[in-house]
């Protein structure tokens, strides 16, 4: 027991926790600019900071420039206020000479932005060690100049839509998997063992093909001059190729294809355990086949339905590569943006904050499922 726990801790829990922690901590700026951030913790945020803060900033920027660490601090500040990067580096360059006059006059002469409250507020917001900057941004919120939490302007708001879209796509995919998977599982469960195992093998076959290959196969099938369009054109069913890829339709098709086995298998396992005598008893007591199915068979399969839906839904929430390859720009789910921030812009705080949103959504769904169905009733086979 203990070795397994330690293994999980080292390989799973600790790395994930360390990653998620980046979404709520802000250590860089305080480490690189220690004096000014300490000064700003004592600042009321309403008037401009006092002379000592200006002096501390000059000392910090000089030290950071010397140590070559100014870039990380400037990058973090630029997330909040566009142009902050240049402000930091221009200030750093200008401070390399001899200084005359007070610290405040010096900085204001370099750039009037040092006389604006917003510049100092951004610095204070980044002072850490705990921050809500990324989490708020992941919900299209931010602090305004008076420190109140307000919504981002509509042209900068994206993540609420993305979260809603992620839930919607996952829901539709789950429903489609259920509608397609239920009859398949029902059919297989009633076959003699030999045939059932062949059919199950066919269901499992896609499992042994890489996800990427299966997704790219859909690109080949669905594209404008792809197999399906050529077939429709040659049969004369359409005169113009139909647009079937880089849209929501393609995302649904490819995701349902990939996730279908996760629905069929738990359903099959549960159906296999249902004795046919129950339905026969219902018939002999005068129920029509439809009534017998609805009132006797269906309720017994519900643990399988619950397990299948939960598995498909939770996996769908995290889907990244399939929508990225066959979807359009407005079909991207939250994982796309996590990857975007983690690897493209190297803004790990934002990537972590979005991961926290994804994890929270998953846990919330799990809790709802547990309340409604009871996790102990779930049967995976």
């Amino acid at each position: 027991m203990l070795p397994l726990f330690l293994f999980l801790l080292a390989s799973f829990i600790a790395p994930i926790a360390a990653m998620l922690a980046r979404g709520v901590t802000d250590a860089d700026v305080a480490r690189i600019l220690p004096q000014v951030t300490a000064e700003l913790r004592r600042w009321n945020g309403r008037d401009l900071p006092q002379e000592s803060a200006y002096g501390a900033l000059i000392a910090d920027i000089r030290a950071a420039r010397e140590a070559g660490t100014l870039a990380s601090a400037a990058t973090r500040l630029n997330y909040d206020v566009a142009g902050y990067r240049t402000l930091m580096f221009a200030t750093g360059r200008a401070l390399s000479g001899e200084l005359a006059g007070s610290a405040r006059e010096t900085l204001l002469a370099i750039d009037p932005k040092w006389g604006e409250r917003e510049s100092w507020n951004a610095l204070r917001r980044a002072a850490g060690p705990i921050t809500d900057f990324y989490l708020l941004a992941a919900l299209d919120l931010r602090h305004d100049a008076n420190d109140a939490i307000v919504g981002s302007p509509p042209e900068q708001s994206v993540f609420r839509d993305v979260l809603g879209r992620t839930l919607w796509i996952s829901g539709v995919v789950t429903l489609m998997c259920l509608l397609l998977g239920y009859p398949v599982a029902f059919f297989i469960a009633r076959q003699p063992p030999m045939r059932a195992s062949i059919l199950l093998f066919l269901v499992l076959l896609p499992f042994w093909t890489s996800l990427l290959v299966r997704t790219v196969a859909w690109v080949v099938l669905l594209q404008r001059e792809g197999i399906l369009n050529n077939l429709l054109l040659s049969l004369g069913l359409v005169t113009e190729p139909i647009r079937m890829i880089y849209n929501r339709f393609a995302v649904y098709v490819a995701m349902v294809h990939v996730l279908l086995p996760f629905m069929v298998l738990p359903l099959y396992a549960v159906m296999k355990g249902i004795s046919p005598t129950f339905v026969r008893a219902a018939w002999s007591l005068g129920a029509s086949p439809a009534t017998a199915f609805r009132r006797v068979y269906l309720p017994q399969t519900l643990p399988g339905v619950g397990a299948g839906c939960l598995m498909v839904f939770i996996q769908a929430l995290g889907y990244y590569i399939t929508p990225a390859l066959v979807g359009g720009a407005d079909d991207q789910m939250i994982s796309y943006f996590i990857a975007f921030y983690a690897s493209k812009t190297v803004n790990w705080g934002m990537a972590a904050a979005l991961s926290i949103m994804l994890l929270a959504a998953t846990l919330a769904l799990y809790a709802v499922y547990n309340r409604l169905v009871g996790i102990d009733k779930m049967r995976l086979g």
């Binding site: 070559g68 870039a71 990067r85 240049t86 900068q156 879209r165 594209q223 890829i245 407005d330 975007f340």
Partner: protein, 347 residues
């Protein structure tokens, strides 16, 4: 105990050996690998070694973090590196590169103005261009970015690079903004608004690409009728896959990769010798015939094969209406405009 001291002794010897080789290592030149570095090897590396200086080559995938780690970690083993314009800007600010002695390189006037930087000298010039399939669009062909927007005359999808960089510039030029005014316009809120409004007009016709290999594929599969693409990719598709893709050079967006010398290199003298060699027009003129990138010494243009020249971003004809991608602008504004672009594209 004996075994232990033997091992420790071995380690010390090994460490000394490593240190000795590190101090005496040859000039190490780092570039982008692939077909490009193959061309560089023939045109620059081998002829340079023939002049009597030993050198080694490596390749990398970019990212200023790699260079930062080498300099700050104190174990830098690279001397001359080819970097993209953004890495040039960032690394120069952070002091990762030696300042160049332009007198040794023949003076700043020898080069295209955009190829001159305190820390780097331009190596190649390449462009984002409008591309289309000459087998599918015949007769009346698109001439500029405004035609890219004309879906009545040329029906079908278009592909642009996903992200605000280059896309917003293209939108403004399609809307009639002159290249020299593009970044002035984009620096204002109204200018950004104008670019997005222009993009709204063709949003329903857009496919977005993310990797440089995609635009030629999208053209070849008939998925789209026009793309913005790296000029080298279009040329490669014509060359290797026997396609008949056409390039419209009007208002192309060009950028420059540069050579830098890493800070504190023990091989600085050799590094400078190398830069002088690769910036000699007599050597530079041999690169474009192997791979369609423009070179940076002004005098090279006249020496380049007349059949190759029209395929280069540096051909005088192609430079006339071109826009130099302003990395300084993007460094400041990319975070905000990325967010705005993501919001726009998802609505």
């Amino acid at each position: 105990m004996n075994g232990m001291s033997f091992k420790v002794g071995g380690l010390v010897i090994a460490a000394l050996f490593v240190a000795a080789t590190a101090a005496a290592r040859d000039l190490t030149v780092v570039s982008w690998g692939g077909a490009y570095q193959d061309a560089q090897r023939e045109v620059y590396f081998k002829p340079f070694m023939a002049t009597g200086t030993k050198m080694a080559e490596e390749s990398w995938d970019g990212g200023v973090g790699t260079l930062r780690a080498k300099i700050q970690g104190g174990s830098n083993n690279w001397d001359v590196v080819q970097v993209e314009s953004e890495e040039l800007l960032l690394g120069c600010e952070e002091g990762l590169y030696e300042k160049l002695d332009w007198a040794k390189l023949g003076g700043k006037d020898k080069y295209l103005p955009d190829a001159v930087n305190d820390c780097g000298v331009g190596a190649i010039v390449y462009s984002f261009v409008l591309g289309y399939d000459g087998d599918k669009i015949k007769g009346d062909t698109p001439k500029n970015w405004a035609d890219f927007w004309n879906v009545q005359k040329w029906p079908g999808k278009r592909a642009l690079r996903k992200g605000p960089k280059t896309t917003l510039e293209i939108a403004l030029m399609a809307d009639g903004v002159a290249p020299q005014d593009v970044y002035k316009t984009l620096a204002t809120e109204a200018g950004v608004e104008r670019a997005f409004r222009k993009l709204d007009q063709i949003k329903g016709n857009m496919v977005w690409w993310e990797k440089g290999a995609q635009p030629p594929q999208l053209l070849a599969s008939g998925e789209v009728v026009m793309v913005d693409a790296y000029n080298g990719r279009i040329a490669a598709a014509n060359d290797k896959d026997k396609k008949n893709f056409k390039i419209v050079w009007t208002n192309n967006l060009y950028t420059i990769d540069s050579w830098v010398i890493m800070k504190g290199t023990p091989n600085k003298a050799d590094a400078e010798k190398y830069l002088v060699f690769v910036n000699d027009p007599q050597n530079q003129k041999n690169l474009p015939p192997k791979i369609p990138y423009g070179v940076t010494a002004k005098a090279s243009t006249a020496l380049i094969d007349k059949n190759v020249l029209p395929n280069l971003a540096t051909a005088p004809e192609n430079m006339k209406t071109a826009l130099y991608i302003n990395d300084k602008f993007w460094l400041e504004n990319l975070d905000k405009l990325n967010q705005r672009f993501n919001a726009w594209v998802a609505k």
